[in-house]
Symmetry: C2
Subunit: 203 residues, 2 copies
């Protein structure tokens, strides 16, 4: 790596002077751009331009567009991408049960309040709603069906219907007995549905 410093018009390479917080600047810029443009339309370059840093900084600090979105907008206590990656490692025959188990243990924290807040955002007409929807459709539900050759999008949508519905009933509407049921009871009950949506016959 060469580190020549020319003072005439070109940006200086290498580490910026102390005192600037690139990471925080990216988070602020990301929240603005995502809420203005939605998830798909927002570009990493536009976010970097708004933060007045190099686009490569997004990868350096957050590992990519998806993770930046997760950290800046969702502010979840877990990383969806990491959990999905874990799921993809296991046996395909037990994927349905594992999806339900991971879903419940992920959202069961804070009495389901985080999921409830998310649903309220999507249900209302907030600016972030479309960004949220795009992110979940593409990067969460879509991720698990990318192996499926045909009707992958339909499978992803069907998965979404069951998981979102489960979350709404347990965390938002709080119907009993599902609201207080143990995780494994719901894994047994809902797992086969998810398994079929992901790998079974749907027509």
């Amino acid at each position: 790596m060469t580190t020549p410093t020319n003072q005439d018009g070109e940006r200086r390479r290498g580490r910026r002077p102390g005192g600037t917080d690139t990471r925080a600047a990216l988070l602020t810029a990301a929240r603005e751009v995502f809420s203005e443009q939605g998830y798909d339309n927002a570009t990493v370059r536009a976010i970097a331009r708004r933060a007045e840093v190099d686009p490569a900084m997004v990868n350096h600090w957050f590992g990519g567009k998806e993770s930046l979105f997760t950290e800046a907008v969702l502010e979840l206590p877990f990383n969806p991408q990491e959990r999905i990656a874990e799921l993809a490692k296991g046996d395909l025959d037990t994927l349905g049960e594992r999806v339900v188990r991971t879903f419940l243990t992920s959202w069961d924290v804070q009495d389901g309040g985080i999921f409830a807040a998310l649903i309220r955002s999507v249900a209302s007409r907030e600016r972030v709603a479309s960004a949220l929807k795009e992110f979940f459709q593409r990067s969460v539900f879509g991720q698990l069906t990318e192996v499926a050759d045909d009707s992958a999008e339909l499978r992803a949508n069907l998965l979404a219907t069951q998981m979102i519905g489960l979350g709404v009933v347990r965390y938002v509407a709080r119907f009993e007995p599902v609201a207080s049921a143990g995780v494994e009871v719901l894994v047994k009950a809902v797992g086969p549905t998810v398994q079929r949506y992901l790998t079974g016959s749907i027509d």
Copy 2:
């Protein structure tokens, strides 16, 4: 006793003098009491007392508490109870598909806006939200599983997860392809899930 009495202390029987609108008075009173007390806690007697009429008038004008709630609070373009009664008539082996078909054809009107509005009410902290939740848990989802001897409540909740999730994805989040899919495609895909939740093995 807050019922109106004449000079002798007896209530006048028979048709009231012209100009009184018992039906409208009940509707107004019902909206107030349901939003204050929720669905279960609100009593027909309390609503009638508020409207200053006899409790039997609820049955005469609306056919019962459920129908009064439907007309006063939900203001739907269809009657949930009637649709459910239709479903109960048919073959138990095809109940899953028929539930999905009836659900979709009922809410597909007005581009799903009525369902979306309902979800927004439940998600927000409106006063009517708890009444809505109680009504749907007891009188809609619960109605279809009252034949099941054991775990009827769990089955009703599971049914709710799938149907609410389907509605949220199709009418609120509007994920594609489910948002634009034909009814029969979704009947084939989701019907088996509902059938299992209603009549199959869930543990």
